[in-house]
């Protein structure tokens, strides 16, 4: 199944590349940009110059969440097919993302073959993947050991880490290992102390992106949609001019802005969940089959220096690729 999907996509990408080449040829001779560097003049085709500008100014990446590979019940009997549709959307984006952030619940039951299937499909996009586990990824006897064995190289504690890319500081937090009696997630003192040290050396003008599975604010208490000690973690980030918090877990987009911190949950690629309090329980929401893809989706994020906060675009899987 994967190989035939890959072939289709490769063919389509090849087609785009050929059309791009024809465009450049049409511009040759008319759209030439001259630049001076070290006293030596050089020229570039207009299209190439624009491409070069795009490449250096800013960063585009993708958030994908709650793929729940292994789930096959009425709310979505084929989660591999909808993940495939999400991947088609990502591959068709005008700007190839620098990388993917997966905000957890990669698998439904933390089984090796579920992780394998998700990984094989996502790797076909051909960009790095950064992950943080959901509670469905830590159901093995070792409470997340399987996830860490696969994806935890170079991480600390239960799998938290940070990295810098294109002028943005990214922080992956883990809030699903020690779930609280009220159902909320928790970070724990060690992770909060690590985060404080991790960002201590950064200038307050550095854009920060934090990603974790469960919402890092109290979104809906009766369903445990929150993280008990998120405020302590966010205290280390209040001085920064732009903080973007990305979460999954609730399979729908809900957003909130609090000072310089904006919070965004994401759609799943597997199945929707009810809006807070609109159903007796937060279980998988069954929608008519023809409507399913309109409530699933992926998110593209773009950052450009000097242009304020990150721009987010949520795309449903029902939109044409």
């Amino acid at each position: 199944m994967f190989s035939s999907d890959d072939d289709d996509t490769l063919t389509r990408e090849g087609g785009v590349a050929r059309r791009g080449l024809l465009k450049c040829m049409a511009w040759a001779g008319t759209g030439v940009v001259w630049t001076m560097a070290g006293g030596v003049a050089s020229s570039a085709l207009l299209g190439q110059a624009q491409a070069a500008t795009r490449k250096t100014a800013g960063l585009t990446f993708v958030q994908i969440s709650d793929t729940h590979i292994g789930f096959d019940k009425a709310a979505n009997p084929d989660t591999m097919a909808t993940l495939g549709a999400a991947i088609d959307h990502i591959r068709a984006m005008p700007t190839k993302p620098a990388f993917l952030l997966h905000t957890g619940d990669i698998s439904h039951l933390s089984k090796a073959d579920e992780f394998d299937a998700a990984d094989q499909a996502l790797k076909a996009i051909g960009v790095p993947i950064f992950r943080t586990p959901g509670e469905h990824d830590t159901l093995d006897e070792g409470h997340g050991k399987l996830f860490l064995d696969r994806f935890g190289a170079g991480t600390k504690g239960d799998g938290w880490y940070s990295f810098d890319h294109g002028g943005v500081h990214f922080v992956a937090l883990v809030n699903v290992v020690n779930l609280q009696p009220d159902g909320r997630g928790s970070l724990g003192a060690d992770q909060i102390a690590w985060l404080r040290d991790d960002v201590a050396h950064l200038s307050s003008s550095t854009p920060i992106v934090v990603f974790a599975h469960m919402p890092l604010w109290d979104l809906y208490g009766p369903w445990g949609w929150g993280t008990i000690d998120a405020d302590q973690a966010l205290a280390s980030l209040r001085r920064f001019g732009s903080v973007t918090v990305l979460n999954g877990h609730i399979h729908q987009v809900i957003e909130k802005v609090e000072g310089n911190v904006s919070f965004h949950t994401a759609r799943s690629t597997a199945y929707p969940q009810p809006a807070p309090g609109t159903a007796p329980s937060p279980g998988p929401l069954k929608v008519p089959a023809e409507q399913l893809r309109s409530v699933l989706g992926v998110r593209e994020l773009t950052w450009k220096p000097g242009q304020g906060p990150l721009a987010l675009v949520d795309t449903s899987l029902a939109q044409p690729v």
């Binding site: 019940k73 009425a74 709310a75 439904h108 039951l109 933390s110 509670e135 469905h136 159901l139 006897e141 779930l179 609280q180 009696p181 009220d182 159902g183 009766p222 445990g224 007796p280 329980s281 937060p282 279980g283 998988p284």
Partner: protein
């Protein structure tokens, strides 16, 4: 012995009646539905095997608050059984959704 086989044995024993009934293993079932255990408080006699069945589309688990028993994650229609031999209160919760709580009370 599977839950179905146990149930069948129990029914046969009930039909047969008499002394055979006393020797039959005692069983009880807790259903997990709409993110809740039912019955939520369950009272059983010592020696009773309690079977939990997940009727939800979401996965759940059964975890003793005092670490006496715990299941793996249960997919839809999966079940887990534990036999209670000692009298007492056994509060438990779902490992994925700890706000789902219930209790088994064992008394002679």
């Amino acid at each position: 012995m599977s839950f179905k086989a146990l149930a069948a044995a129990l029914m046969l024993a009930a039909i047969a009646g008499g002394p055979a009934l006393a020797a039959t293993p005692k069983t009880a079932t807790v259903h997990i539905s709409m993110f809740a255990f039912s019955p939520k408080p369950l009272v059983v006699a010592p020696g009773t095997t309690v079977t939990w069945v997940n009727d939800d589309e979401e996965a759940h688990s059964v975890v003793s608050d005092t670490r006496v028993f715990h299941s793996a994650a249960m997919d839809t229609k999966d079940h887990y059984s534990f036999t209670f031999t000692t009298a007492g209160d056994y509060p438990y919760h779902c490992g994925l959704h700890p706000n789902m709580v219930a209790k088994v009370t064992v008394k002679p």
